[in-house]
Subunit: 282 residues, 7 copies
């Protein structure tokens, strides 16, 4: 197969030079077209956003997707052209259906899944750029939805690349008001009605101060009997994204109200029974 | 394959203009038809609900499904028409059975599962809009049952998109009365009969007050010997959705009854044996 | 494919009217037949039950299954008839074996599994309506065994729909007498023989009172050395469904017997060694 | 496909009457043959057992299996005969190989696995009726080994139906003598040699009393350094099924021997260092 | 298919008698041949072992395997002969390749895996009879390695049957010397160098006494800072099977050496800070 | 198949000598070409880096990949040449499509997945050499991205080889600023506003000192009610890679600020209720 | 198929004798060739190692692999020859492609995976003999890398046989310097700067003594706020294999330095609040 001795080395070198020149030309063109294309896409979506026809998240999603598709098409053209230079036709390659069949079967199977899932993620608006979502064990802000992978930025700054096929259930935390929930444990010795009144008063005051609160907050009653405390639960509805601030606000206000009214948030309690019999000499 | 030099650029531009005009026309039509269609569906189900032939949850389920199917059909027509403009016939594409076969095999396999499962979810009425359900690890109120995905709103406000194929066992918490259960730990020193009588009296009083209670509540006896307490169990049957309120009501009433009667809910107990021998110089 | 301009709209509208009339007629018939059929099935099983040829659970199981099969056959006839109206023959559809093959392969695969498993569940009487069973993580009373899904009502009132294919090992708790088991921890200081005698006396007394007890209860000996107690075990055999009541009865009786005889159920113990050396200035 | 108008209703009704008569006759025959067959099988195995050629467990296993196979053959004949009445030949059905192929592929695949596994369970005598076994997470006494399912009765009375294909590793606890193991914690202050001598004496005494003990019991030494105790281990070999009784016997005897000899089984210990500095005003 | 009326019952009964006689004859022959064959195999391996050409474990392994293969061949002959009596030829059955193909595909797939894995287990000497091994979650002494299943006897006496296909990683604990490891916690107040010297002296003494020790034991240093103690680690190399006895021996010797030298093995420590302020009236 | 007797041993030996000489020559050439090729690749990327056209991580990634591809091509040529010497043509081997099909199906399936995934890892820049990433349970610095495996160096010095196919979600921690987060528990007795002011002052001071901080640090409020403390949370944005140093810096500064201002970081609290009743004689 | 009566027993016996003689001859030859071959391989690698062209681990790896391949080839020849004696040609067996296809599909599938993975383990030098590696849940020293299985010796002496196909991510701990890490908890009352200075001094001293240290050790700061202590972290870089000794050395030195400077390593702390109110009569 490889006849090393009778090889025409000169022809090889000359041909290599020609091919190299062609490839360099194509690469330069590729880089230019890609830069220009990206700018045009960006400008288009900037205008779209100014006109206000779509929400910002949706615009960003479509923009990142458009650039994604644009890149893949360019790469496909690049590969095809380079193959042509080497005298290989992609069409004839694809025609070799047996090989393609195997390739699809083994390697590309996942790609098709990625693209199909990605298509439905967008069509059903499960994910938009800037949404706060949970996908499997990843939790963060969507940075881009691509044909093959979705990028999610965790709150600690990590950027996660998730193949679309691995996206099953999407939990989207940016689709309406969110609940703020605070549990407070009061002593078994306290009067429950009094404690609930004090907490409700604090909650009502917070509601007037905090514009992030949409509904409530309300003390809904005795949620559980703890080992050392009676747990009362407070629930409010907060604007999307404000739920944590509202919870922190409520915690501080309730703590201060309980302190003011002398209602104890109890530490763990234990009843100790002393034994000190003389028979234990050790 | 891509003869870059001898390309007829003029014809391309002109053709592109014509095609663009056609596509814009189709898109406008698509947006109009979609808006009108949705309104008609909404009006139809509003009337249906007024007549009272179906339950509200069922009506909402069918409405969300109808809009879902309507959308997919419109998109299919849209794609077909656009393909026609480019001279591609979907029929001939489908006829290329080998390719379609592979596509179904790899990409669409999941879609078929989604649709079949979705169909049985509806036929067997496992899920209705506004039901409170648990599906796998997701827990919340059903917001829509679609052909491909089911949307469930968690109690914290998160909207979960679950592909139908991932829905195995459905636990529907909106299919009849629910149990309210309260466990109370009393001291090992208390008389069990007396404690049970006090708790039963409190329960019976709650039953007269709380319209959410359907049956009971009853003290059923000594459920367990805890490390520091004897656990008594109270069980009631509550109207669907009222179980948590009933439990909270019962907890408050029982706590107050025990306080009034001087029956202790004990803290964790420990017997301490003091050793202080002189031989431990360290 | 879709020639929008030269479409014969009149013919379409007229045809649609005819078809609509036919469909409405069929739907009315469908509703009537279904209601009558269900009533006949109910009456048949009521009579069967009165004659007492089968157990009640078995009769309920077969009744729910019969209605299930009846429904699926009706729906199949309905779909076939509607398809006929549109000029589609189900037979010719099925003849298109390639497509059917794919459909079975991807979508219906699960259905066949459901039906085969359901068939054996019934044939081998693994499940009867009103049995208390555990299937996977679901635990409750069987409400219906269908061809495709089994419905189990949890004790908290939730209704669980389990596809039959997901039913592997069935643990049926309604197939004979059940064991009642109570573990009691006594102090390391107590005489074991004396404690066992006291507990056995209490057990023997319970046995005379509680008709739910079939065998025992017997104190079988020292089951374990706990951190702070010596664990004694009591075992009884109870009538099916009475095991929890028997356990509660036994717990109460044993607790009272131990109190009467001054035998302690110990709290957790700890030996504290005090160190208070002057060298620890911090 | 369904020509509702021109249907010959009379012929249908008459034919239905004939068929109904035939089916009733067959069902009666089926019930009779089944009852007689079962009795014959029972009588055959009773005699076999009396002659004592096989162990009792083995006889029960083969008996339950024989009845199982007998039932399936009867059902197959029943179904075949009923099909014949309707003019359907099972042979021709099977000849329709394509459909059968699919059916085997999807539905019956598990059945073949069940039967093959069941066959080897019996051939290799992994399970006999009345053996105490652990299969996966199920633990109990084998009640029947069938072609498709194995029934295991848990100690709490639950009857578990396990499809044979789900039986992987079988842990059979009825195949020879069993180990009895008791761990005793003694105080760090005790002399280990003395404690071991006391325990060994108690063990030797138990060995003379308890006929369930085959070998030992022996104190094998210091098994571990616990947080508050030095753990000594006692091991014995007991007759199959007697291991728990032996362990309970040993625990009681060792506890009493240690009490008699004043050797402490220590409670959890903790060294407390008191700090009470004046700078802690809170 | 089953013409019940015109059946020649006499011929059937006569034929059945002849067949029954034949089967009985074959079964008797089968039982005899099996008993004789087993004896011959046993005798052969006994002699082999006496000559000492192979290790004992290896001989036992090959013996159990030989009997296993012998059994399967006998059963195959038995089944073939019985089939012949009924006029069925196994060869013609196998020739029905389609059916065999399906059977192999679904039922026998696991058998082939079992045999292939079993073959390599033996060829690579991963398991020998009497080896102490861990396979998955099963832990014990190998009792037999068969073509289809491996039997492992747990230390508590249970006999585990593991299908060879489920044997992945084999951890063989009978392949060379084993490590004995003892961790001792000493008080934070002790001098580490002194404690290490005392422990090392005890270890060196044990090494002279215990013939199971091959190397060491050595105190290797401070392994960890515990909550209440400084953990020192002792490591030794022991003869295979002696590691537990060596560890128990070391524990006892080290405990006694520490006691003699007044070095404390500390109980859990806790610093208690007392607060008893007058403002806590509850 | 193997005619041992009539074998021409002389010819074999002579031929073997010739072949051996050829193979040695090829191996020498292989080693030389590999060494030269690697040097050329290294030099090329060194220059590329000096010019500064690409980031350092990207250059290293492409360099390691180039050497990887170069190696595989050399090995392929080597194998082909050696096969030629033995008179085997790789082309004809591949032409034996059936065998190749099986080989791809079973052995090489994973290789194709590895290469496809590796290709996209690089194309989408999910991983660069020197990035700090988490892939599954492996966490560390990327050392090389190859066609088949990716090498990640854990922080403890371990080098992990991950087949590309096992790389699902990539969490890249080197893609922008990172969050620094410190939780501080203060006593329930402290004034929350005062404590927050003290901590904020300490944070602001750290911000002026530590150049690793990009934004913040800010005290965001009461994050939780602990068992013995009120948890306050501080969040900052740090330069990539500086987040741990910033957190350590913040922890030290906040601890010292709280000490200075007499604000307590509380130990676990417990309320002890003493019981010492005379009735407890044991 | 098996005509038992007319069987020519004499011919059988005679033929069996001839065959037995042949097989014995072949087995003797096999044993001899195997012993000689192994010796030659060993000698070859011994020389290779003396010349020092390859690292020792690499030489051992290739040696164990060579013997492995040599064994499999011998066994293949043995089996082929024995088959020939019985008149079976392996070639003709393989020609029966259908059966071979099935065999490969079901039984040998895993073998191909084993060999392919094993090939890449060696080619990419992921494992060498004597490397300390973690593969899945197995952790130890590589003893041999074969074509089918890899042997890893655990530190406790167990020899693990892992099929190559089960080797996914390889964590090789013998590929460069390793990190030594020691966490020390100091009291909340200590001055952090002072404690860090004391620990750093101890570390610097250890660095001069311990030749296993390559870099550091350095105190990097406050790693965490514990429940009762402030955790400081020390990190060093140690020579491969020396990391544990370095850590033990550091722990001892730091402990002694802290003792000398009177800095406390605190025990768990707890604040106890005493309640002894007269109202608690129980």
């Amino acid at each position: 197969m490889l006849d090393v001795k009778n090889f025409d080395w000169e022809a090889l070198l000359f041909g290599a030079g020609v091919i190299a020149a062609q490839i360099i030309g194509i690469l330069v063109a590729f880089v230019l077209v890609r830069a220009i294309g990206k700018k045009l896409i960006d400008r288009f979506f900037d205008k779209l956003l100014v006109k206000g026809d779509v929400t910002k998240g949706r615009a960003l999603t479509l923009q990142s997707l458009s650039e994604n598709i644009f890149s893949y098409i360019l790469i496909f053209i690049l590969v095809t052209t380079v193959f042509n230079i080497f005298g290989l036709s992609v069409a004839s390659l694809i025609a070799g259906a047996g090989i393609i069949g195997l390739a699809i079967g083994f390697g590309a199977q996942g790609l098709v899944s990625d693209v199909v899932t990605g298509f439905f993620l967008l069509l059903e608006k499960q994910l938009d750029v800037n949404d706060y979502v949970t996908v499997g064990s990843i939790d963060g802000i969507v940075e881009a939805v691509g044909l093959r992978t979705t990028k999610i930025r965790s709150f600690d700054g990590t950027l996660n690349y998730i193949p679309n096929r691995d996206i099953m259930t999407v939990s989207n935390h940016s689709r309406g008001n969110m609940r703020a929930l605070v549990d407070i444990g009061i002593s078994y010795d306290e009067n429950i009605d009094e404690a609930m009144a004090v907490i409700q008063a604090a909650c009502t005051h917070v509601a007037t101060e905090d514009v992030g609160i949409v509904e409530g907050p309300d003390v809904i009653g005795v949620q559980a009997f703890g080992a050392s405390d009676v747990t009362l639960r407070v629930i409010a509805k907060a604007k999307n994204g404000e739920q944590w601030a509202v919870e922190r606000h409520l915690r501080k206000a309730i703590k201060e109200a309980l302190d003011t009214n002398g209602i104890e948030i109890p530490f763990p309690h234990q009843v100790n029974i002393q034994k000190n019999g003389g028979s234990l000499e050790s």
